[in-house]
């Protein structure tokens, strides 16, 4: 189970990159392409920072080591 979970997390983490790549190559960025790219990458960076930083508190709250077992 754990063996498959880790690659799955990595693949799901690539979805924002896929979205922005699609937008770049299919002209879906709207009237301000540069702003769209910087905002998209910036927002997802913040989301991932919050996600990673929340692992230790989650471990403490749930008293489970699953959060940091990777």
């Amino acid at each position: 189970m754990k063996k498959y979970l880790k690659p799955c997390v990595f693949i799901f983490s690539l979805i924002p990159l896929l979205i922005i790549t699609y937008k770049i190559f299919f002209n879906q960025l709207g009237p301000e392409p540069v702003k769209e790219i910087t905002h998209h990458t910036g927002e997802w960076t913040l989301i991932f920072i919050v996600l990673t930083l929340s692992m230790t508190p989650l471990k403490r709250i749930t008293k489970s080591n699953i959060w940091i077992s990777f």
């Binding site: 960025l29 009237p31 392409p33 540069v34 790219i37």
Partner: protein
Amino acid sequence: MKKIKYSEITPEKIYNNRRSFIKSISIGASSIALSSLPFTSTAASDKKNNITSYKDITTYNNYYEFGTSKGDPYKNSQNFKTNPWNISIEGEVEKPISLSMEEITEMFLSEERVYRLRCVEGWSMVIPWMGFSLSELLSKVVLTSKAKFVEFESVYDPDQMKGQRYPVLKWPYVEGLRIDEAMHPLTTIVTGLYNKELPNQNGAPLRIFIPWKYGFKSAKAIVKIKLVEKMPTSSWMRASPREYGFYSNVNPNVDHPRWSQATERVIGNDIFAPRVKTLMFNGYEEEVANLYTGMDLKKYF
């Protein structure tokens, strides 16, 4: 305002195709067979002259009355009331008049006019406006000999226009033209775009559009047209006379103090598309250059 469903909007491709079809009729019957095929590629046509999508035209706006971000006008203008609406024509005229929007749409036939809009910030769109020449409207009054300039005044209503609660500019928004510029057939009173009613964020119910000048010269939501003897001071001239002059003709040779005006970013093009060269008088040089013969356009920017 009637909300336009996305499904009602003609896809850009069909819209463009319709125009190329009409164009081809004047070129020659032989090309009809080719261009009347649905979805013939428009890739060969000049990217700069492609009509900008309805979505970009109506969501990327400079309209500080509704906020200073490009998306603000769309967000903050949807409940703006444009009915009833009266426009007064006054000042140096024999008899001032006041017209309701209904009277204006009855009196003047709006036609489609596809013009390029060049913003002073360095971007451009191609917009299929609906409208008629300002000179037609001004023919309804008799000008006195003192009518040397035209001043346009936009609506002042901070209750409905939240941007007007901040002193970003001097409200109401004021713009102006020299009388010969105002009488030029390209100077358009706009009542719609994409064959529809003019959306609030684009200056409903009635705005002006001057294709050879930077976009800010084209005042939106006009309530007063005043004929005056002295050159009016526009809101932007008042805010920064060093940066924004009365004429503000599109001119690739006269830079803005803070950036170059030599090129422009075409809205709707993908991120790899290079900026394109800005044309003298925004490409309308042939039509309007004679208005400025002998004038130093660097001095009168």
